[in-house]
């Protein structure tokens, strides 16, 4: 009961924040009713998905200060579990998604246990390595389609199929992912004020002090890593049903890992709104830049240069990201 109350307790934010957040939520709920292009719709779905990835990343990366650059492996585990189960055994999304989350969490324990012996950059590099190893394995594993990947053909099913999450129109996908999005926000709001959330922020501060307060630092990190993983894998499962065509290169590449981390860091790591702001800036930028510059001028890759520039500016000016800038302007601290 207390946990539920705490999830809906936003009282430590100033009223202006809550008004902006409320307007944002209203916009998300009503967006499909406005006239929009299918491109804008796809961008919005991407935005919601990456917000969720970022929220997951933010638990361990933001509140815990452990920079993780291997989140794509969990996108892959979620996406492949759902796709394989649907194609081979006709197991619907709502069953395969939790199973995928379990697989991802088990995998996260297996690599989290040894990896959290490492600190700082070494940890970040190790997460990249494990992610790449998994990518290579999936590329040669015939059971999951090897490098060709898997394709969910919608013809076999009769959309709209809510049970298997197979739709023709994007609007259904939009509302499913925005449901996840709101649950995610409430969950993170609970998390940041939970015992584990506090302990994690103390660990980020100073691990020795954390130990002196009875915190099992290694275990707290592993637990949080599992939470982050569950988030990412959940969205990965959604990704499989939404995109319908998954290849190892698309779902588990280093680009995705970096984009997830970048998004949260750009918006503001360790703050509730940070990942959402980050995704809100980067995803439209990414989509539109690709559309305008990449395709038309044939300048593929200029979008990457632009993100790199943004990140360099942000990290030089305000390491706490956009949220840090907002807080600085207000002369207050981040939540």
């Amino acid at each position: 009961m207390e946990a539920l109350k705490s999830a809906f307790d936003f009282s430590d934010f100033p009223r202006s924040d809550l008004i902006v957040a409320g307007l944002g939520a209203l916009f998300i709920l009503l967006f499909p009713l406005f006239p929009h292009s299918s491109f804008a719709m796809a961008t919005m779905i991407q935005f919601l998905m990456f917000s969720l990835y970022g929220m997951g990343w933010n638990t361990i990366g933001g509140y815990g200060g452990q920079v993780d650059l291997g989140k794509a492996q969990y996108v892959g585990i979620g996406a492949y579990t759902t796709a394989v189960m649907l194609i081979r055994w006709d197991i619907p999304f709502w069953i395969s998604m939790p199973i995928g989350m379990c697989f991802a969490v088990i995998w996260s324990f297996m690599i989290g246990y040894p990896l959290f012996r490492l600190k700082g950059h070494y940890f970040a590099i190790a997460t990249i390595a494990t992610s790449l190893v998994l990518l290579d394995l999936f590329q040669v594993w015939d059971f999951v389609g090897a490098a060709r990947g898997l394709e969910i053909s919608p013809i076999k099913y009769s959309p709209p199929d809510f049970w298997r999450l197979i739709f023709k129109e994007d609007i259904y996908y939009y509302y499913v992912i925005s449901g996840f999005f709101f649950v995610g926000i409430f969950y993170i709001n609970w998390f940041r004020n939970s015992r584990l959330g506090f302990q994690l922020r103390c660990i980020k501060d100073n691990e020795d002090v954390a130990r002196s307060l009875g915190i099992n630092v290694h275990w707290a990190k592993i637990k949080t890593y599992a939470i982050a993983t569950a988030f990412v894998s959940m969205v990965g499962s959604f990704h499989a049903c939404y995109i319908k065509n998954i290849e190892p290169e698309d779902t588990m590449s280093l680009d995705i890992s970096i984009l997830i981390a970048l998004m949260a860091m750009l918006g503001g790591a360790g703050s509730l709104w940070g990942p959402i702001i980050g995704a809100g800036v980067l995803i439209p930028l990414k989509s539109y830049l690709k559309e305008w510059l990449g395709a038309r001028a044939g300048l593929l890759g200029i979008d990457l240069i632009i993100y790199a520039l943004i990140i360099m500016v942000i990290s030089a000016v305000e390491p706490r990201g956009i949220w840090g800038v907002i807080e600085r302007i207000r002369g207050k601290r981040g939540k």
């Binding site: 002196s212 307060l213 009875g214």
Partner: protein
Amino acid sequence: MSLLEVHNLTKYFGGLCANHDISFSLEKGELLGLIGPNGAGKTTLFNCICGYYPVTSGRVIFDGEDITHLRAYEVARRGLARTFQVYVASGDLNVEENVMVGAFMRNRSRMRARAEAREILKELKLEPLAQNLVSELPVAAQKRVAMATALASGPKLLLLDEVAAGLNPSEIDEIMAIIRHIHEDLGVTIILIEHVMELVMRVSQRVIVLESGRKIAEGEPQVVAKDPEVIKAYLGERYAKEQMETRT
């Protein structure tokens, strides 16, 4: 039964002997001062007791239980809290939240942790600073926050590592009042590492002196202060000799 017993504790870092064959015991309700020149091995001793360093040999018994080989967080959960000499607070926790982390050790509820933290902040007169970031506070206040946080974990024994270092005389008086308050009114047993002699000598009931990793004296503050070994350790052999000569 003693609250803490240290038996023949020895700690080597490679070839360097940081603690050699140290034994002492501490009764419940005592306030013990641990002094010695820089590099005498005081903080190392704390780290060995609390499980931060593995000991080379010897045993540590806390409240009847052998805690020698327990890890730091396990020792903390048994009721042995500590503060750190250099309290690095870089993060985004404010004072109240910081103290809450301590309170979270013994209960899971956020409401209760917050209530306990507020209580302790009131006890230590930190209430007006509750919403400030720890990293923005002056050193004296940071040390008080560190003490409050350690206290919030509900310890039986509190190890304070140089809480008065770098403070001005009026701040030292404040810290002294707080230490007395924790010891007398809250009934917590305390071991105090301190360089500020005025503080140790006035609040401690008993003092242990370390020098080059060995225990060279133990007893009441006034007696220890006159011990020639101790004077030698602090002020050098020649000064000690002169002192002895002028006295005789």
